[in-house]
Symmetry: C2
Subunit: 299 residues, 2 copies
């Protein structure tokens, strides 16, 4: 049985009723499971995690676009997390019994239909990207909603589908396929935004850091602390604990402690087991030693 | 469906063929799943982890006794781990759909039949104990095989079932019921046995340490290092990481580092997730954020 994961990120995190309406919308599609819904008022963003087969997921994404495009106005949207569209990013992730190529095809079909139905320009990213310069979400999103109209006057930034200019209230959307990612935030016990930005710069691949890390430094105004907001794009090769410890050490240089960390949405179990193995200095450990795993295996 | 776990500890860890014959014996019983088999040549001990319903498990334990009683001679047995019998300890653990009381009853029935069939004295322990002085395995096992004949001349140490003296080659066995336990060894980068013994003493409940910790210090002769060999009897209340960090700190006092650690047999997933949460300083994390768990839940 094919399991695809789909993780729409929408630019709404401060109106719980609206977010709940999005949740009800996707839940209403037969064959779609809602695995998680997380909202962040600082980011003013919500992340839904869906699972299912290709056709129901496409239907769910289209239904979500229908709801979000009508109810989120980016001209009024303020939040700590960068955004390009009302429905900002929609990745499809192969989980079980399905190859990346199928997820790429699904991303392209969904993107085409979104563009046609809602007159929103769509850019394909990661494994679905049509050009190397469009693989990275950050490169597509740079300038955010406010800079999009100017950006799209350049032929370099013609969308993969849809009109040659932003939707006036819904901006543009980024749709694609990729491997599982862990959204991981590390909060620092300081209000110095420059510290978070410097550390983000130190750990992210683009500016010399770990290969499979994307990161930005942001302020959490309501709590008067700062955050290194991270995407771990290959947790097997660049594990969560290595990144945390690098952040911890970098923060020490500024006399700043790590206050706490947080996983947003879902994580593969292996990422946490790997962290436990690292910190406990476990040798010769096999996931088969996990009781629940062994009970589930046929004997 | 009832799932009971049964973890026979046998006094053989240096003859792999013999251990394999034990494995084949228990596997041959219909309705019994072998979840794990671990041997330790230093300890000269093996731990089998079985799961199933009450009747098949009892049959497996009796079959194991038949094989082990004939092939292990404790008069010849040398090893780092304390032992009383060829089949040394057999706990039954409720895992799912079964209450402790059922496991206690199963322990008592199994003990009675072992004693009758193999003429091995049996002591009931933990939740199955008939007296408070017999709850602790360590109190029953103190003196080991070599001291058993003398110990059993005292009326205080009349067995719960079977003859009033040790079996000449198979000693005595301890059978009971308890909550899940984690067998955890921490190896220290030193050959100083006194350090391991002092640290074991520091962390175990009986001498002033953590409430749900049993520990001994032993030498791993083949590797010329020492080990704190631990049973975590309630990993939720006394978690694995707290114990490791206490050992680490105590070892520092002697200028000794923690070399590595090891889990023997099975561990509940929650113990490792809890360790990951602790070291990663994760806040607001729910096991529902584990992808594999969410996929298994009905939506």
């Amino acid at each position: 049985m094919a399991i695809i994961e789909c993780i729409p990120n929408v630019s709404e995190g401060r109106r719980p009723d609206l977010v709940q309406s999005f949740v009800r919308t996707v839940r209403g599609i037969s064959g779609v499971r809602l695995l998680d819904a997380s909202s962040d008022p600082s980011h003013n963003r919500s992340v839904l995690t869906l699972a299912g087969e290709a056709a129901p997921l496409k239907a769910a994404v289209l239904a979500l676009f229908a709801k979000a495009t009508g109810s989120i106005d980016l001209r009024e949207h303020r939040g700590e997390h960068p955004r390009l569209g009302a429905v900002d990013v929609v990745p499809f992730v192969p989980i079980e019994g399905v190859a990346m190529a199928e997820c790429v095809a699904l991303a392209r079909e969904t993107a085409a239909e979104v563009a046609t139905r809602f007159e929103v320009p769509v850019f394909l990213y990661e494994e679905a990207a049509t050009q190397p310069t469009r693989r990275n979400l950050e490169d597509i999103r740079r300038g955010e909603f406010e800079g999009l109209a100017a950006k799209m006057t350049s032929p370099e930034w013609a969308p993969d589908f849809g009109p040659a200019r932003p939707h006036p209230t819904a901006g543009a959307s980024v749709i694609g396929a990729r491997m599982p990612l862990i959204a991981y935030n590390i909060n620092l016990a300081t209000d110095r935004l420059d510290v978070a930005k410097k550390i983000a710069s130190a750990i992210r691949h683009s500016s010399g850091g770990f290969r499979f890390v994307k990161a930005i430094g942001i302020a959490l105004e309501d709590r008067q602390i700062v955050q290194v907001s991270i995407n771990l794009t290959n947790f097997e090769k660049t594990p969560i604990h290595r990144v945390l410890e690098a952040v911890r050490r970098e923060a020490e240089r500024y006399g700043v402690a790590v206050l706490e960390s947080e996983i947003i949405g879902l994580t593969p179990e292996a990422a946490l087991i790997s962290a436990a193995e690292h910190y406990l200095q476990l040798e010769r450990f096999s996931p088969n030693q996990i009781l629940e795993n062994r009970l589930r295996q046929a004997e």
